[in-house]
């Protein structure tokens, strides 16, 4: 062995030990400023709670604010990959930002764990072995709502959503499972705040129920105006408009509304009970759906870090795919396209003292995957 070879092998040994000691570096790009900040803050807090509880000091998390702007998100992803040299990216809330960042990130050999957005393209033709969705495929909660409508014997739904891809997916998802008639179908303007016109049409349509997907402030506005309009048809929607962060702002208007979710704070499993308790203790507020997804995302990551070294991509990928962690939603596994196969519940909005929250009513879809898995070739 020459001196040079000796030197080289010494270097390699140093690098190998260095890699294990370094642990894993995570880049979190999420929305922390502006109107949508509540969701990003919840995901971040849930994620960091899990990291803290694991007691590991080999997980380093770099957090940046994307301001809900796709170009800023892309720029931050470049920064995380080029300067921070992260191994795993996560954190994005919105589908359009996810579409801007994820394909590029996984093409550069990084892992991406989605704590919220699940656009259909990335579940189907655009799937990637390094992309794992820990929340749901975008259609899932709407499919569950359709299934619930059948079981509740609703036969004449009026459905509405904003006129943009996630809104179109929502109505498609609902119709995929719903078997009744449609009393009407409406697309609203994105960011619309007044729904008097739509509510009047619902009133005139002779529907027996309303399904809507209006995330964020749009949903709050719709529910308040719906309650004030005197209409009392049953309302069904995905959990986004009835989640812990915004329920207090909707108030009485949401009481009794059925909404579909893969998680609820009263789901009875040890992981969830511990999560709800520790989240409340640490942040002094009830956890939301988004917080649970952030928490699960971190625990998935931690389970993979325990099983494999992130430097060994194949082993790490296999460890992620095994999903060997205690999810707050109970059973959780990945389908062939790295999207969850999980149970979906319908929840009812109730009041506990001064606080509005949700209570699980029944299971509507068991071990449900998504409609795009067949298109995924990887």
């Amino acid at each position: 062995m020459t001196i040079r070879q000796l030197f080289l092998s010494a270097c390699m040994a140093a690098m190998a030990t260095g890699a294990t000691a370094e642990g894993v570096k995570v880049g979190m790009i999420t929305t922390l400023s502006g109107g949508g900040a509540g969701l990003g803050i919840d995901v971040r807090d849930g994620f960091m709670l899990a990291v803290e509880q694991s007691g590991r000091d080999d997980i380093e998390v770099v957090i940046e604010d994307d301001q809900r702007k796709p170009d800023v998100a892309v720029q931050l992803a470049d920064k995380m990959i080029q300067s921070e040299k992260v191994d795993v990216l996560t954190g994005i809330i919105w589908s359009n930002l996810a579409m801007a960042v994820i394909p590029g990130a996984v093409a550069q050999g990084k892992f991406y764990l989605s704590p919220n957005a699940g656009p259909s393209v990335l579940a189907g033709k655009g799937c990637n072995p390094n992309y794992f969705n820990v929340a749901w495929q975008n259609d899932n909660l709407h499919e569950a709502a359709g299934a619930y409508a059948n079981s509740a014997r609703l036969t004449n739904s009026f459905i509405l959503a904003p006129n943009y891809p996630a809104g179109q997916d929502a109505l498609t998802g609902y119709k995929r499972f719903y078997e009744g008639e449609l009393a009407g179908e409406l697309y609203t303007k994105l960011g619309q705040t007044d729904y008097a016109s739509e509510i009047a049409q619902i009133r005139a349509a002779g529907a027996d129920s309303v399904f809507f997907f209006l995330p964020g402030g749009m949903g709050i506005s719709f529910m308040k105006q719906y309650a004030e309009s005197g209409l009392d048809l049953p309302v069904v929607g995905p959990a986004f408009s009835f989640d812990q962060g915004i329920l207090q702002a909707v108030g009485d208007a949401a009481l009794g509304v059925r909404n579909t979710s893969q998680w609820s704070k009263d789901l009875d499993n040890p992981a969830n009970t511990a999560f709800v308790e520790s989240f409340q203790a640490k942040y002094d507020r009830l956890p939301s759906l988004y917080a649970s997804q952030g928490f699960d995302t971190a625990n998935l990551l931690i389970s993979a870090v325990e099983a494999a070294d992130v430097g060994d991509q194949d082993a790490f990928r296999a460890a992620l795919k095994a999903a060997d962690f205690a999810s707050t939603r109970g059973d959780f596994e990945f389908g062939p396209n790295n999207h969850p196969i999980q149970d979906f519940y319908v929840r009812e909005v109730i009041q506990e003292g001064d606080v509005f929250t949700n209570k699980v009513e029944s299971l509507v879809l068991e071990s449900h995957g998504d409609a795009y898995a067949a298109e995924c070739k990887m």
Binding site: S33, D65, Q82, M99, P103, Q168
Partner: protein, 327 residues
């Protein structure tokens, strides 16, 4: 050499030196930031032709920025998925060649600027500000609700488009390309400002009646300026979309129009190199303040306010004096 010329040289030298230093220190993200500044500077230089030389306060330049971006997105999308752009009456294929994309981006922007300008220039003052905004909003809502190219999700392109002789995925090479385009645009606009057309345009800004008296039609001057302005901003949109390898309706939003306008005002209205200073400062502030606190927009707002209140005429007004100030 005037102080303004000296400042121009320093500015361009710094914009070149920072990414080169970052390259040697292996800090690719700094290069990306500099590329972003260079591209946004081009957009500002474009707006400045209408705003600074012609006095046309367009609050809808995001239209051209976004159209340029979509020109890139759509052409590259079709090329990468091997689907023709259109088949009847004749077949047009997509492309991943930057020069072709740039030409298309400029062409589309010219057409849009002709149509929007021809209608908008019937109004003046605040009415002009708002009618340009109205056209931008129409295109924005159209892009959001039109499903063919992703709607609000936008359009991702997985690889940056190609330029003969360059590896555009390499940050420093793409920066050089954008820097070169910026330099060419600046050269062109400087010459334009001193050309008979440019002088006549500035005269029309100051006193339209007198220009009319010597046999020129201010409307035609304004329209030409608006079209040139839109074309340059459209080109920068194509570069910006290639930087992010992504285009979405955000590029068409009124926030974007506002941001481009801020680059111009920050730098100094009517100064050819002003938007370069404005864009660079804005990116720098965004980057430095972003790490400071979760409420960093407050600091950004305060800084902007400080510039307006205490540095009249923008950075150039502050640093180069007011000898050729905008009236």
């Amino acid at each position: 050499m005037t102080r303004e010329t000296a400042l121009n040289i320093v500015l361009m030298a710094v914009l070149l030196a920072v990414p080169l230093a970052a390259w040697s220190l292996d800090e690719p993200f700094v290069i990306t930031l500099a590329t972003r500044a260079a591209i946004l500077a081009i957009a500002g230089v474009g707006l400045n032709v209408a705003l600074g030389l012609g006095g046309l306060v367009s609050f809808g330049h995001a239209v051209f920025f976004g159209l340029g971006g979509y020109a890139m997105g759509i052409l590259a999308h079709h090329a990468q998925t091997y689907t023709p752009l259109m088949t009847a009456p004749f077949t047009i294929d997509g492309t991943t060649s930057m020069p072709v994309i740039w030409l298309v981006a400029i062409g589309v922007s010219v057409l849009a600027a002709l149509a929007i300008g021809a209608l908008s220039l019937r109004t003046t003052g605040v009415y002009f500000i708002m009618i340009t905004l109205a056209f931008a909003q129409m295109v924005y809502y159209f892009a959001i609700s039109w499903p063919a190219y992703g709607g609000e999700d936008g359009l991702s392109v997985y690889v940056r488009n190609g330029f003969p002789g360059l590896n555009t995925m390499d940050p420093i090479q793409y920066f050089s390309l954008c820097y070169g385009v910026l330099a060419l645009v600046l050269l062109g606009v400087s010459r334009l400002a001193r050309s008979p057309f440019g002088l006549m345009l500035q005269a029309a800004r100051q006193d339209p009646e007198r220009v009319e008296a010597i046999g020129q039609t201010p409307y035609r001057l304004y329209l030409t300026a608006f079209v040139i302005s839109g074309a340059i901003t459209g080109l920068s949109g194509a570069l910006f979309a290639d930087l992010n390898r992504f285009v979405s309706p955000t590029m068409l939003s009124w926030h974007m129009s506002g941001e481009i306008m801020i680059f111009v005002i920050l730098g100094g209205v009517g100064r050819v190199f002003g938007p370069v200073a404005g864009a660079a400062l804005f990116i720098l502030l965004e980057h430095l303040l972003g790490g400071l606190s979760a409420y960093w927009h407050v600091y950004l707002g305060a800084m902007l306010l400080g510039v307006v209140l205490f540095a009249r005429g923008g950075l150039y007004g502050l640093l180069a004096g007011r000898e050729v100030a905008h009236d």
